[in-house]
């Protein structure tokens, strides 16, 4: 039965592998040169809130070389959606084309067929997600050293959220496909649903999944330590928050390491000693709570959708 499921998924497996190969072909060479540049320029010594002038130059160089590539990887958030939706297709096509009437009248029970036909794509999706996470985490290491991993682009492909989202896209395409029995329509709607969900998370939900921290300080006070590499959600007051990254920007927006402070503003700030800066932010310590909550939410939804699709197929299809 496993062979059958794999064989019928052959095209989708090959495309998945090709996507992975393509991304690897892009990331591996650039990742190696990024890591080289990072160590060659001695940037690890520059990881402080107030970098020295040579450090700032080095960081500036590094950014101008690699920032655009970094921004490009924001688009890779689409990959879990594409792969998840695609892996649901063989199952839906069986129902759409009527070949289930062949499959369920051999000697395998319907239950076993459903379990294998779902298990195989799920495992494929998990393998792909895992590979992508490893690849991205390795590739992005220099940036993470410089800016932390709380910015949207980094957060979305580190940790484990990719797994949750791949399952979510899979579950959505599956549930729609099983009810409507039209693979193309189901895939399209599911991908749109995935896309909208990601934007929703980026813009609204991620700030609220784990309660953000608040802080306030006068302009003559040092900013709280855990703002370093934090994700800044909102800010009132004129002070420039150093070492943090701007909050959830709309999907695909540029992210700049907020380490560089213009001299003029710094001088001006010294006179505004009465002004207080308030910030709402997610500190780096919230990385794993946020990852787990987001993954748990979407994997949970995925499991509900998959269970529904399995139940529907078992009971309602004739």
């Amino acid at each position: 039965m496993t062979w059958v499921a794999l064989r019928l998924q052959r095209t989708e497996t090959l495309i998945t592998a090709a996507i992975l190969a393509l991304i690897a072909a892009l990331l591996i060479p650039t990742g190696i040169s990024m890591a080289d540049a990072y160590s060659h320029d001695g940037l690890s010594a520059c990881l402080a809130l107030n970098p020295s002038a040579p450090c700032m130059n080095a960081i500036g160089d590094f950014q101008s070389r690699f920032q655009s590539l970094f921004n490009l990887t924001a688009w890779f958030t689409l990959i879990p959606g594409i792969v998840g939706v695609m892996l649901a297709a063989p199952f839906v096509v069986e129902l759409e084309s009527g070949t289930y009437r062949l499959a369920w009248t051999q000697s395998v029970t319907r239950r076993r067929w459903i379990a294998t036909k779902l298990g195989v794509p799920i495992v494929t999706g998990l393998v792909l997600s895992g590979a992508l996470i490893l690849l991205f985490t390795w590739w992005r290491a220099p940036f993470v050293h410089l800016n932390g991993r709380m910015d949207a682009t980094t957060f979305d492909s580190e940790g484990i959220v990719v797994i949750g989202y791949t399952l979510f896209a899979f579950g959505l395409a599956l549930a729609l496909g099983v009810v409507f029995r039209r693979a193309v329509i189901a895939s399209t709607l599911a991908f749109i649903g995935y896309f909208v969900s990601r934007i929703f998370v980026d813009v609204w939900l991620s700030q609220r999944l784990v309660t953000p921290d608040h802080a306030a300080w006068k302009s003559n006070q040092p900013q709280p330590a855990n703002l370093f590499h934090a994700n800044l959600i909102s800010q009132t007051g004129p002070g420039l928050v150093k070492g943090a990254v701007p909050g959830s920007a709309p999907f695909g927006a540029n992210v700049h390491a907020n380490v560089h402070v213009s001299g003029a503003v710094a001088r001006a700030g010294q006179h505004l000693s009465n002004f207080t800066t308030h910030v709402v932010y997610q500190p780096p310590s919230h990385f794993w709570p946020l990852q787990l909550t987001e993954t748990g939410l979407f994997a949970g939804i995925a499991l509900v959708l998959i269970a529904f699709a399995a139940w529907w197929t078992h009971e309602r299809v004739a």
Partner: protein
Amino acid sequence: MSTQAAFVADGLGKRYGAKWALRDCSLEIPRGSVAALVGPNGAGKTTLLHLAIGLSKPTTGDVQVLGRSPRDEAATVLPRVGFVAQDHPLYRALTVGETLRVGRKLNPSWTDDLAFQRLERLGIPLGQKVGTLSGGQQAQVALTLALAKQPELLLLDEPVASLDPLARREFLESVMEVVAERELTVVLSSHIVADLERVCDFLVILSQAQTQLVGPIEEVVSSHRLLTGPRTDPATVARIHRVIRESHTERQTTLLVQANGHVYDSCWELHEVDLEEIVLAYLGHRGERVAA
């Protein structure tokens, strides 16, 4: 476990929403029969076959194949029953050889030799993609899949409906050869009656979701008669025999009856009726002679 009948339905019914696709179906098909399931499209033939193979669940009543419930005892029933669904679904992207491999993986009682020999005799190449085969060849591949697990019962849903006459004939010859070789009960549905009389020995007529007539073909043909005579009210005949169809002209009355014993009334002339005419009468077809 050996039972007399290969296929038993008892008050079987299936409803989809508000509509009954099959109702009050009770029948028994003996082992070793080649049974024809005849009726127009939408009569319930596919529904009945899907209930028999466990693809659907009954709304009312009960169905047993080879003495077992197909839905509840699927693991025991499926290896012993071969099924070819309407339009013989196959995985079009797979080659013929890969399709057989699917059969091998999914059926513990699969016999490779049987499958390969069959296809070789039919001249169907193993390396060819199923989607590129002709309709007749695809039907034969689907049949091979159903036969290679050596079933005791074979269910065929409109197996020859979409085939050209030659392919249709070759398909039926194939099935008959297997029946000749070993004990196999066959139930095949069709909305074309012509093929069936020489191949089948048992008849089930379905129309409007209900069984109209069930029985061995020899008995059916010998118990139905066409009565012709001067124009009359059929009431006297109808008291003893079952009038299936009546038609009248100005001077003549024609009745198709299922006779209950002898027909004694001397004013009638008796004729034998062929199977096709009997089936058409049960399906509500009006006689060739139009009421004047």
